[in-house]
């Protein structure tokens, strides 16, 4: 049994360290500054306070938010373009090839396989544009696939030394400019062929086809009870085995969940706040509710230990870990207590996040908690503050409820562990 479990985790480790997953994670991280800064501007345009919009309109006129809206239209709505550059860059860099050349090439390829026209009012079509319908959340999966494929091709050419070599004596910069030509030509030629084939036989661009056939089903599955529970379970189980669960699971799922959030925002901007089609499961639910205080919601363990622990080890580790825990960092508890491979604490470590997910998802499903749009907060934002920014007072209340549940549920398991520590300490002295 133990062997099977270990082999399972080894599989996840190999998966997480594969070239594609590494490039996906590294590349998606590069979208963080854009989404976090975009969030700030979007938040100022939509503070979660009743009557705020009307008040600002009275104060500054109906155009008070055009500048703010422009910023979110140029950060969130080009997310797929950033992803294409980021993944192409990361893949080539990790392979020792020229990262930025590959990133630019990947962006060109993404634009080639996406539409260059957009429908306008009255059934006409505007040509010669880069439509933001496909460069934002809707183009995410297409951008990932393009980034990975271009990265692979570019690195392959680099390995096989498929490049124009300049005679000795030509300055290195000049030589580098030529070295991207052959892979560039191959990538662009292939992208052209793909565009031609998709338009002729599919009647739409590759980006649109992927959105309809792959991304939409993925998004629908991601935002179900089963999808959410699977994500939450995996995150805890991996960290219990000492592997960074959020990094591995969200490394793959974050683009899909972010696409959910961006699609929600588009629906809400269209004035369809209560409309169907909103997807509840967004990155904010995972970051700020399901792993509040760190994976496993260990902040409740720390609180119960601070209240009632007797053993030196339990008191020491909870004192050491409490402040980082407020900022959602909990590696000290996970490795120090330890929770890793600890059978006693496995139960609450898995159970508490699951309950937190059920509470949060349920609150959003019945309409108590607003469904989240594009606004995100850094994952280190403390409890209650993050809940308030995202969901107003209701968000803060849900977080406090989760905190209370976590403390109560961890308490008996903490006591059991505490007794074991106390006995060991008694033997040692």
């Amino acid at each position: 049994m133990k062997k099977i479990i270990e082999r399972g985790f080894d599989g996840f480790m190999r998966f997480a360290s594969s070239k594609s997953v590494t490039a996906l994670k590294d590349g998606f991280v590069l979208t963080m500054p854009a989404t976090l800064i975009g969030s700030l501007f979007l938040l100022i345009a939509n503070l979660p306070i009743p009557g705020y919009g009307a008040f600002m309109t009275r104060l500054f006129g109906p155009d008070w938010s055009v500048g703010l809206d422009q910023v979110s239209a140029c950060t969130f709505d080009i997310l797929a373009m950033i992803i294409a550059v980021g993944i192409g860059y990361a893949y080539a860099r990790n392979e020792g090839a020229d990262g930025i050349s590959c990133g630019i090439l990947s962006l060109i390829s993404f634009l080639i396989v996406s539409a260059s026209s957009a429908p306008a009012e009255g059934g006409t079509v505007v040509t010669g544009v880069i439509p933001k319908t496909w460069t934002g959340g809707n183009g995410v999966i297409a951008a990932i696939l393009v980034g990975l494929l271009v990265g692979k091709l570019f690195s392959f050419c680099h390995r096989k030394r498929l490049r124009i070599r300049m005679p000795a004596g030509v300055p290195e910069g000049v030589g580098n400019a030529f070295s991207a030509l052959i892979p560039g030509f191959i990538v662009i030629l292939l992208s052209m062929a793909v565009y031609q084939l998709c338009m002729v036989f599919g009647g739409a661009s590759l980006t649109e086809l992927i959105f309809r056939l792959v991304q939409t089903p993925l998004q629908n599955v991601s935002s179900t009870w089963a999808g959410g529970i699977l994500i939450v379970l995996l995150i805890s189980a991996l960290f219990w085995a000492g592997l960074h669960g959020p990094n591995i699971v969200m490394g793959v799922m974050a683009p899909v969940l972010t696409a959910n959030a961006l699609a929600n925002q588009a629906l809400m901007d269209g004035g369809q706040a209560a409309a169907e089609g909103l997807r509840i499961l967004t990155p904010q639910i995972i970051d700020c509710f399901v792993k509040l205080g760190g994976t496993g919601i260990t902040i409740g363990l720390l609180l119960s230990a601070l209240l009632a622990a007797r053993s030196g080890q339990m008191r020491e580790i909870s004192r050491l870990s409490f402040i980082p825990g407020i900022f959602n960092i909990n590696e000290p508890v996970i490795f120090g207590l330890p929770i890793v491979y600890n059978p006693i604490l496995l139960i609450p470590f898995i159970l508490v996040p699951l309950i937190a997910f059920v509470i949060t998802y349920g609150a959003a499903a019945v309409g108590f908690l607003p469904v989240f749009g594009s606004v995100q907060v850094p994952w280190t934002t403390p409890v209650v503050v993050s809940g308030f920014i995202l969901g107003g007072w209701r968000g803060a209340v849900i977080q406090l409820l989760i905190l209370a549940v976590s403390t109560a549920l961890y308490y008996p398991f903490m006591k059991r562990q505490d007794r074991i520590f106390a006995e060991q300490e008694g033997e040692n002295t």
Binding site: N94, P332, V333, F335, T380
Partner: protein, 104 residues
């Protein structure tokens, strides 16, 4: 002067350990430079480091870092030392890794 670089998912939890290691180095009168960064920045930020240590939760990145930083000693921190933030022990482990390298 030796430069030690610690990498984890975001450079946050290793940041806690870095502080403890600096205190330990100061207490023992060892002069060295210790920093933290995220794994995805490691190729740049750890380029001139003598030793690279990895948080145990991201030890699956070991292969990538070894490829990115050829010839440099890269290892994961022992989980218990990492969790208890035992700066002195991690510092010792890091320094012994550089000694091995000098001898080679």
């Amino acid at each position: 002067m030796k430069k030690i670089m610690l990498c984890c998912n975001a450079g946050m939890s290793t940041g806690l350990l870095v502080k403890k290691m600096r205190e330990a180095a100061e207490a023992q009168g060892i002069s060295c430079q210790i920093g933290a960064c995220s794994v995805s920045e490691a190729g740049e930020k750890a380029k001139d480091a003598d030793v690279i240590l990895l948080g145990p939760q991201v030890r699956y990145e070991l292969k990538k870092l070894k490829a990115l930083l050829p010839g440099k000693p890269v290892e994961a921190v022992a989980p218990a030392d990492y969790g208890m933030l035992r700066g002195d022990r991690v510092l010792q482990a890091a320094l012994s890794m550089t000694e091995g390298q000098d001898g080679a």
